[in-house]
Amino acid sequence: MTDVLQVRGLTVDYRRHGTRLRAVDGVDVTLRAGQTVALVGESGSGKSTVVRALARFVRPSAGTILLHGSASHRNRRYRRSLQVVFQDPFASLNPMHTVGHHVRRPLLVHGTDIPVDDAVAALLTSVNLVPAQDIAAKRPHELSGGQRQRVAIARALATNPDVLLADEPVSMLDVSIRLEILGLLDRLRTERNLAMLYVTHDLATARHFASEILVMYRGRIVERGPSDQVILTPRHPYTQLLAQSAPRRSRSRVAPVAKAAPTPRVPAGGDACVFIARCPHAMPACARRPPDVPVADGVVVSCWLADLDAPAPVVG
């Protein structure tokens, strides 16, 4: 499989009231053709900022983004090759324009081999919006949330991209249609050999639809690896917390255990591990940035616990 998008050391800072907030801190991502990578994390973890930086909506402070090995992004080719599906299909479509208009625009800008109207019809059909001609004449308010998201997907595919960034593509949709949309994205990934980044807070769909999962916490990737490995045998204390917290239908209801004793106070901030304040295993070593430790089965964990050969912490 070929690497389509290679991201190394991606760092994004937001400036606000004169203070700097590091939203993304040294993130590495590799997207390969025909593969889905899930980026999971809670609100505020920086996962959407990663999408915004890759889509060039915000300028990274540091890091390299290589598309097919090329570092140039200020061109039409980059925009054509990398497309985004946003969370909110009510906000991402212009209420004044028809469905056909939304899908036609990128075709006019980036060109198409077949007549534009045929291309619009083919795109709408490929996302199961049929009959395409009727749907193309409609405006967003005449469509359901799921249909709107299909329009957004058709629009993203209009430029025939190699990379699709799906930022929480189903979290605004009704439960009964979420899997339909994820299934559609999955089919399109196979058919078009797309390299896909699936950004979500939902561990269960991340596991079922992605081959690799990156777990993000406060701007850093704390664990990465094959989906089943990361979800079923989480190694990083944060991933463990996430997996334990997710609702499970099969869990028998037991009296909840009392919360663990407050963690020892280890100075946070600076170069410390981002999870230090909530980690039940925090120790003095955690005051320094943990290394990325490759453990078994292709899993990489950013945690001192995983680093068996960690040098004795320097006191003082």
Binding site: L179, A204, L242, Q244, S245, P247, R249, P256
Partner: protein, 339 residues
């Protein structure tokens, strides 16, 4: 009348949103809430689950109107109270005391311009006029402590709290007067999964301690399967299946229940074919002939197109409103069709 263990009982409850084309959001709903249990209500957006909750709490406001049915609350001493018949004063005494509600967005439920302390004080002033200022203050501190928030936060304002803390304040306020029933409408939907877990654990602990019953409403079926004792599945304003949660887990009867369960991948289950529910729910301004789920149902047969299925008791515990389970009709094999 009611069995002594039933604390809240709805019989044939219907709610309409008036207008040129009235929306019949809740249609002929019958359910019982037993003392101390968690009854989960699940369904898609627009199925009427929140409207039902508001109706049960008598919180409907025009254009929504209770158009039929009775809602009966049974006091601990066995006296039945007809909720629909309460006048304003009686209703004011009833709310918070006997039944309270936790809303999805605690930010909107809390007053942004007064302190947490004042808001709890308000409830106590109105409902416990005999309490002294000192007693009220100590009760407020006790309540925050109960939901795991430092009582020093009493002097703070809602915006100074995180989303999870606000939701816990909402729960503390709901429990302030030790009601028998708490209705929770999507109380954790806006929260991250770790915070959601803290809230759910807290609810479970408090229920075990205080013994109140909960109607828990959410679209998240995985969550409901975990915390509920019994489950009611709503579709197009009606309850289509109602049963103990372990029974629904083992043997869901209604095709919609099955489809909804299939829509949630389980975190650690085997990978399997994942499908949603194709199609969309019906327009609630209309009254379709036959079963409202029939256009989306893979098992629909002749009677489904003509006759509305009514809830009927099925073997074991539980009720289901589906012709597939009506002995009057020849029964297709559900598993065969699914496979």
């Amino acid at each position: 009348m009611n069995g002594t263990d039933v604390v809240l009982s709805a019989r044939g409850v219907s709610v309409e949103y008036g207008g040129a084309q009235p929306v019949r959001a809740v249609r002929d709903v019958t359910l019982d809430l037993r003392r101390g249990e968690i009854l989960g209500i699940a369904g898609e957006s627009g199925c009427g689950k929140s409207t039902l909750a508001f109706a049960l709490a008598r919180l409907l406001r025009p254009p929504a109107e209770l158009t039929g049915g009775t809602i009966t609350f049974t006091e601990p001493d066995g006296t039945d109270v007809d909720l629909a018949g309460l006048d304003t004063d009686a209703l004011r005494r009833f709310r918070w005391n006997r039944m309270s509600m936790v809303f999805q967005s605690a930010m909107n439920a809390l007053n942004p311009v007064t302190t947490i302390s004042r808001q709890i004080d308000d409830i106590l002033l109105a409902h416990r006029p005999g309490m002294t200022k000192r007693e009220r203050r100590s009760r407020a501190a006790e309540l925050l402590d109960m939901v795991g928030i430092d009582p020093a936060r009493l002097r703070g304002f809602p915006h100074e709290l995180s989303g999870g803390m606000r939701q816990r304040v909402g729960i503390a306020m709901a429990l302030c007067l030790q009601p028998d029933v708490v209705i929770m409408d999507e109380p954790t939907t806006a929260l991250d999964v770790v915070v959601q877990r803290e809230i759910l654990d807290r609810i479970e602990l408090l229920r075990a301690d205080l013994g109140f019953a909960i109607i828990f409403i959410t679209h998240d079926l995985a969550l409901l399967m975990e915390i509920s004792d019994r489950l009611a599945i709503m579709y197009a304003g009606r309850i289509v299946e109602q049963a103990p949660v372990r029974q629904i887990e083992r043997d869901p009867r209604h095709p919609y229940t099955r489809a909804l369960l299939r829509s949630f991948p389980d975190l650690d289950a085997e990978r399997r074919d994942l499908r949603g529910v194709p199609g969309a729910p019906p327009d609630l301004r209309e009254t379709p002939q036959g079963c409202p789920f029939q256009p989306r149902c893979a098992h629909a047969f002749a009677p489904c197109r003509t006759t509305l299925p009514l809830a009927r008791q099925v073997d074991g515990a539980g009720e289901v409103a589906c012709h597939l389970h009506d002995p009057a009709y020849p029964q297709p094999n559900l598993d065969e069709v699914t496979a």
